[in-house]
């Protein structure tokens, strides 16, 4: 059990615990903040997996973008002033049982399976390699994603703006 392992367990714990709070906390704002920690934890895991660029992206996009977006959503829809920020839950018990079973099954599969592993050949800095493959091998997908984002942008704007036309 070296440092690497310890760091892994820390991050894993951080991720899972805060994720647990994300899904169980009644206060939606709290949930959002716990999500922040989950995402951090995952970013840490990425670093441990040698995906430094991805970790940075994870923090920038998720924490800097998506999470903020979510918070905005929470605030707009709850009209913070007069509506309880707490949200209810539904049939927790059957869901918990089923998903517990499922989680168990999934986890046991992950663990029991004899994965074929090989020694990694991940380059030390991935940004160069990533950038290269993005504009060579994956250039089409890259472009499509760009368009997708644009569509999403316009779509989101148009969906959200519809009220004014009515």
């Amino acid at each position: 059990m070296d440092l690497y392992d310890i760091i892994f367990y820390l991050f894993a714990l951080l991720t899972l615990v805060s994720a647990y709070f994300v899904v169980t906390n009644k206060n939606i704002v709290h949930s959002a903040f716990f999500l922040l920690f989950t995402l951090f934890g995952i970013a840490g895991l990425y670093v441990l997996l040698g995906a430094d660029f991805l970790a940075v992206v994870q923090i920038m996009v998720y924490v800097g973008g998506i999470l903020i977006l979510l918070l905005f959503g929470v605030m707009i829809t709850n009209k913070i002033t007069n509506v309880s920020i707490k949200t209810g839950t539904i049939h927790i018990i059957p869901a918990a049982i089923v998903i517990g079973l499922f989680a168990g099954a999934l986890a046991s599969i992950m663990v029991k399976t004899q994965w074929q592993t090989e020694s990694a050949k991940i380059p030390f800095t991935t940004s160069y390699a990533l950038g290269k493959s993005l504009i060579t091998e994956y250039v089409l997908i890259f472009e499509i994603l760009g368009i997708l984002l644009l569509i999403a942008l316009i779509g989101a704007a148009s969906i959200a703006r519809r009220e004014e036309k009515e």
């Binding site: 991940i122 994603l145 989101a156």
Partner: protein, 103 residues
């Protein structure tokens, strides 16, 4: 056993995935559902990156993860826009009350 390997990452991912599902299933608030979805997506991402590292797939897994993140961002934007719209229509965003599908 304590030596961190592929399985560990996968295990974390599996739990995270289940938690995400749990969030989707149990929460009333649409934004909370969205958070569950984010968890699920991240669980998947962990798998991609983990396999990428341990499975000798080079950088490819990371590229896919990158794409997933982008998709997640787009998805979040759209979803929130929808949530806003739904809110305007039903004056709440509690998914259990939006059950038009039933009729």
């Amino acid at each position: 056993m304590l030596q961190v390997g592929l399985e560990h990452f996968l295990f974390v991912s599996a739990i995270l995935f289940s938690l995400g599902i749990y969030g989707i299933v149990t929460r009333k608030n649409a934004v909370m559902v969205l958070m569950g979805v984010e968890l699920v997506l991240n669980a998947a991402n962990i798998n991609f990156v983990a396999f990428s590292k341990f499975g000798n797939f080079g950088i490819n897994g990371q590229v896919i993860a990158l794409f997933v993140i982008v998709l997640a961002a787009a998805e979040a934007a759209i979803a929130l826009a929808i949530v806003l719209n739904v809110y305007k229509t039903f004056v709440n965003i509690n998914v259990d009350e939006i059950n038009k599908l039933r009729d």
